[in-house]
């Protein structure tokens, strides 16, 4: 029952796979010193995949393909584009990484996990979904522990693996219960079956909790966030950046689709999520306050951002969904920029302690500006994407009368402003010891320069000309299921 649509529906995945194969074939022929070019290849390939998909594979009306395994809709497509973009940026960041840069397999793993994410975003069946999640996770476990001679990295990989395995088992258990209750694994029919069947709200509540454990781990929501700081700090920084953005967005993609499709009639989960959102924001921000390591700080801040995004989910409305998608888009660009800047810095200095950032704006004004854009966007200041994203999420909450949640979000963003500005204080205000910043410039290699410029421009574009982006987010939210 082949149709061309089937091909189009998985065009990004096909391109990813093709790219992976090319990489696998070509890379061994390169001399060791040229293997860094694998990065260029990956980057170019991902960019090409992005463009080709955008040109040819844009979905029209949503439809299911592959026997209901996948949905070919704008929602999935938009997320796929985000993942490709994030992967492209990450491949650039990886190129000049000491350990990852000259190893073809690292790029391959990146492509594999991206492939999994793409499938996560478009799967319409519990089985497919689980497979996609595993496809995503396993390469990430490896990438996290990639630096075998580095204890922290190994620990990070192992920790991530343990947490991932346990939560994924719980998630699987939840899936199986769902199947047990309804006799179907298809998301489309699941919701109706649950609604039509006998009243099992108590049991469904339990299932929702199980699913939350699994997805909460992916999006690092409290109380399933413990792994995040250690893994972010230990894992190679480009991987950490990818983990905190694309992987989290993939989690949200599943969360939105699953909950909206399967449990539209169960009013209990928005309230549970409201509690989770509150806890996630608050704990993430409070724990970020005392951090002295920038990567850990970013880890906690990314936990907090999951909380803000959850507000949009809790709003349980069309605007709420659109706001989450847009929030994730802005967040991906912003956080990648932040991680990129940190990488560019610590590659030269070998440190990511906040106090070592003193004098950065004098050592490299442009890198300072990139930090400025990233952190102000994280803090939710215009003209950066973070501002618009936050406003729309809060707007969605206020629309549904969730004033308390909005106010909690606001209080949290105030805490966040404090520590983000604190970082900028080091970058802009404090001087290096000896005040001879000119003698210690921070050169940017070409991949970093490209990635940082693109991301910074992106963050500003998202914050100023946000019309089309939000339009797409809204389109995605419209045909969620």
């Amino acid at each position: 029952m082949y149709t061309p649509t089937m091909l189009l529906a998985i065009l990004p995945e096909i391109l990813l796979l093709t790219l992976g194969v090319i990489l696998l074939v070509v890379e061994p022929f390169w001399k060791a010193e040229n293997r860094r070019n694998a990065g260029w290849l990956t980057f170019g390939g991902l960019l090409a995949a992005l463009l080709i998909s955008l040109l040819f594979a844009r979905p029209a009306d949503p439809q299911t393909v592959f026997g209901g395994m996948l949905r070919y809709d704008w929602y999935g497509f938009f997320f796929k584009m985000m993942f490709l973009f994030a992967a492209a940026a990450t491949s650039l960041f990886m190129m000049d990484h000491e350990k990852l840069g000259r190893r073809g397999e690292s790029y391959l793993l990146l492509l594999a996990t991206t492939l999994g994410m793409c499938l996560m975003a478009s799967s319409a069946d519990l089985v497919m979904l689980y497979l996609a999640i595993e496809t995503t996770s396993i390469p990430l476990y490896v990438l996290s522990g990639f630096m075998l001679d580095d204890k922290a990295s190994t620990e990070a990989g192992f920790k991530y693996l343990l947490y991932g395995a346990v939560t994924s088992a719980i998630l699987l258990y939840g899936f199986s219960l769902l199947f047990g209750f309804t006799g179907t694994t298809n998301l489309d029919t699941l919701g109706n079956a649950l609604a039509a069947g006998p009243n099992m709200s108590g049991l469904v509540f339990g299932v929702i909790l199980l699913l939350l454990v699994g997805l909460g781990f992916k999006i690092s929501a409290v109380p399933f966030h413990f792994w995040a700081p250690d893994v972010y700090q230990g894992a190679p920084t480009p991987v950490a950046g990818f983990l905190s953005t694309a992987s989290k967005a993939a989690g949200f993609a599943v969360l939105l689709r699953l909950f909206f499709a399967a449990f539209p009639g169960f009013a209990s989960w928005p309230s549970i999520l409201a509690v989770v959102a509150t806890l996630t924001m608050t704990i993430g921000n409070l724990l970020a306050l005392p951090q002295t390591n920038l990567k850990r700080l970013l880890a906690y801040s990314s936990i907090a951002h999951a909380g803000y995004a959850l507000i949009g989910v809790v709003a349980f409305s069309e605007l709420g969904r659109a706001s989450v998608v847009f929030y994730l888009l802005a967040y991906i660009a912003t956080n990648l920029l932040a991680f990129g800047a940190v990488m560019a810095f610590s590659r030269i200095t070998g440190s990511d302690d906040i106090k070592d950032f003193s004098g950065l704006s004098r050592r490299s004004p442009w890198l300072g500006l990139a930090m400025l854009a990233a952190f102000l966007s994280l803090a939710g200041m215009p003209p950066f994407g973070g501002f618009v994203a936050k406003v729309i999420v809060f707007a969605a909450a206020v629309d549904k009368g969730l004033y308390v949640l909005a106010i909690i979000g606001i209080l949290n963003s105030i805490i966040a402003v404090y520590y983000y500005l604190n970082v900028l204080k080091f970058v802009y205000l404090y001087r290096m010891d000896g005040e001879n910043e000119e003698a210690h410039p921070i050169p940017l290699t070409r991949p970093y320069a490209i990635a940082l410029v693109v991301l910074a421009v992106g963050v500003v574009l998202l914050g100023t000309l946000f019309g089309p982006w939000f339009d797409w987010s809204n389109l995605a939210a419209l045909n969620l299921f």
Binding site: M381, F387, V391, D399, V417, Y428, F470
Partner: protein, 519 residues
């Protein structure tokens, strides 16, 4: 399509900020020249807007530009700008402060200590212009989202400007305090604005952030419903007026949320203090008027007494605290609290005289306090102290600065023939009409103000130059003189000829009064 003058005004500093960043860091004079050219251009355009504003038209907003920014689902955001009689003077004020701020920051590398901004002027001017663009933007915004957008742009550069170029002793503390206070205020107001957006949208069916549309909805009764407030059914406007008004008024330095402001003033470098006290505080008062009073007039009527109470306390308390300060900048900082209290005082009357006075006071205080901070900065750069007892005889080495400060002082005291009187008198008249006792209490501040201003002038500018400063006070530059003269002339001109500005502000007040229901 007419020339989009307001957009050009708003984007001039923003574009200039980017251009300045592209200049190599060591080309300091090119940086400054670019800044000066941009500020002169913006000033010229804002003067043009002021001059071209048709006072008798009573048509509300003029120079309107409107473009759809985002229209998706029931989110509708416009890029919508325009000025009325209230905001046109403030646009002019911003232009003036920007221009003089650039002049003051030019400075020179003096052997006795650099004056102006010598450390990284490129970044300084870039951030300053970002701030200026935000300020212009707020004054011309006719869309709630746009207003918040520019409002935040105006707030966060303050952090960097103060933290990086500020007074070493308190800059980190003050900058953070200021940013957090203002951020809290603005997001609280944001929630209120969102509530207005949805409520107006539900009532009319058209969801839009356009303030004119929201105002129309309000006039049609969209905000007359009740909302559930912790179990009680309370009118919508009553619930939301306070968060919105006070959220913005924080930036206006309203008591009891004024605490950030003197600290911020003290820590900020000269040009930033000028911007901060001269324009930013007006931003708060203006936004509180535009969003709070104009969109929630019934709420304003309900809570006017509270605002008046706060304002009365601010006026007297600010003056008293200013009186006991020994640091010049703290003195001016608290005097700003007192004078901005007068603005709030005028706003809280909700009548023609009071609102007119508030509008005039915003302009007058903006110019005056910019001048104060400019002069204080000149003295501090040279004497390296702002402690009033450690200074003296400054009129000899710095006659221009002294005369400027004296004129500013007279404005501050509300001396007739200076702009302060022209502004304060109608405010008091407005208060008389609603709560005479408040006028009587607040009038005490006039004497206190006279006392501390005179005391300060006498101790800083007259008498003997302290021995340790003798010969260390280099003369001010020609650019500084231009800045001082510009500011002084404005204050005297407005004081002698109130009709230069009062009719324009009244035309703005008229539309506010219509919203408030006749009068």
């Amino acid at each position: 399509m007419n020339f989009p003058v307001l957009s050009v005004i708003v984007f001039t500093p923003l574009v200039a900020a980017v251009l300045i960043l592209l200049i190599p860091a060591d080309r300091k004079n090119e940086v400054r020249t670019t800044a000066l050219v941009a500020s002169v251009f913006a000033l010229a355009l804002s003067v043009w807007v002021y001059a071209q504003y048709a006072i008798n038209a009573y048509t509300g907003y003029q120079f309107i530009e409107k473009m759809t920014w985002l229209s998706v689902g029931n989110l509708h955001i416009d890029y919508h700008v325009g000025v009325d009689g209230m905001s046109a003077p403030l646009v002019l004020l911003t232009g003036i402060v920007m221009f003089t701020g650039v002049l003051i920051s030019w400075g020179k590398d003096d052997p006795h200590g650099p004056t102006g901004i010598q450390d990284r002027p490129r970044e300084f001017f870039a951030f300053l212009f970002l701030l200026a663009g935000g300020v212009f933007g707020v004054f011309v915004s006719l869309d709630l989202f746009l207003l918040f957008f520019f409002y935040e742009i105006a707030v966060f550069p303050m952090y960097l400007l103060i933290a990086i170029w500020g007074w070493v002793k308190t800059r980190e503390y003050a900058a953070m305090k200021l940013t957090l206070y203002l951020f809290i205020g603005s997001v609280v107001a944001l929630i209120g604005a969102l509530a207005m957006y949805w409520t107006a949208g539900q009532a009319t069916g058209t969801y839009t952030f356009d303030m004119l549309k929201i105002s129309e909805a309000q006039q049609a009764g969209a905000f007359n419903g009740l909302v559930n407030f912790f179990g009680a059914q309370v009118p919508f406007q009553v619930v939301w007026f306070l968060p919105v008004f006070l959220g913005f008024a924080v930036l206006g330095g309203i008591w009891p949320f004024h605490n950030w402001s003197p600290d911020g003033h003290v820590a900020a470098p000269t040009a930033v203090s000028m911007f901060h006290a001269g324009v930013l505080m007006k931003l708060g008062a203006f936004a509180a008027l535009r969003v709070g009073i104009m969109l929630l007039p019934d709420g304003a009527k309900y809570w006017a007494w509270l605002i008046m109470l706060f304002a009365t306390v601010a006026v007297v308390y600010g003056a008293y605290i200013a009186f006991v300060q020994t640091d010049m900048k703290y003195m001016i900082g608290f005097s700003s609290v007192s004078h901005m209290g007068l603005v709030m005082f005028g706003l809280s009357t909700l009548n023609r005289d009071g609102l007119t006075g508030a509008g005039l006071q915003m302009f007058s205080h903006g110019v005056m306090t910019a001048l104060f901070f400019a002069v204080t900065g000149m003295i501090y750069d040279r004497a390296h102290t702002r402690q009033i007892p450690e200074l003296g005889g400054m009129i000899k080495p710095l006659p221009w600065a002294a005369v400027g400060f004296i004129i500013g002082g007279l404005v501050s005291m509300g001396m007739p023939f200076f702009s302060g009187f022209v502004a304060e008198f109608p405010i008091f008249m407005g208060v008389w009409q609603v709560m005479p006792i408040a006028a009587i209490i607040a009038s005490i501040s006039i004497v206190i103000t006279a006392a501390y201003i005179m005391n300060n002038i006498r101790r800083v500018f007259f008498g003997e130059v302290p021995a340790n400063l003798e010969g260390h006070i280099s003369p001010i530059t020609a650019l500084d003189k231009v800045a001082i003269a510009t500011l002084c002339l404005l204050m005297v001109a407005l004081g002698l000829f109130p009709w230069l500005m009062a009719p324009m502000i009244q035309s703005g007040v008229n539309s506010i009064l219509t919203l408030l229901g006749g009068a």
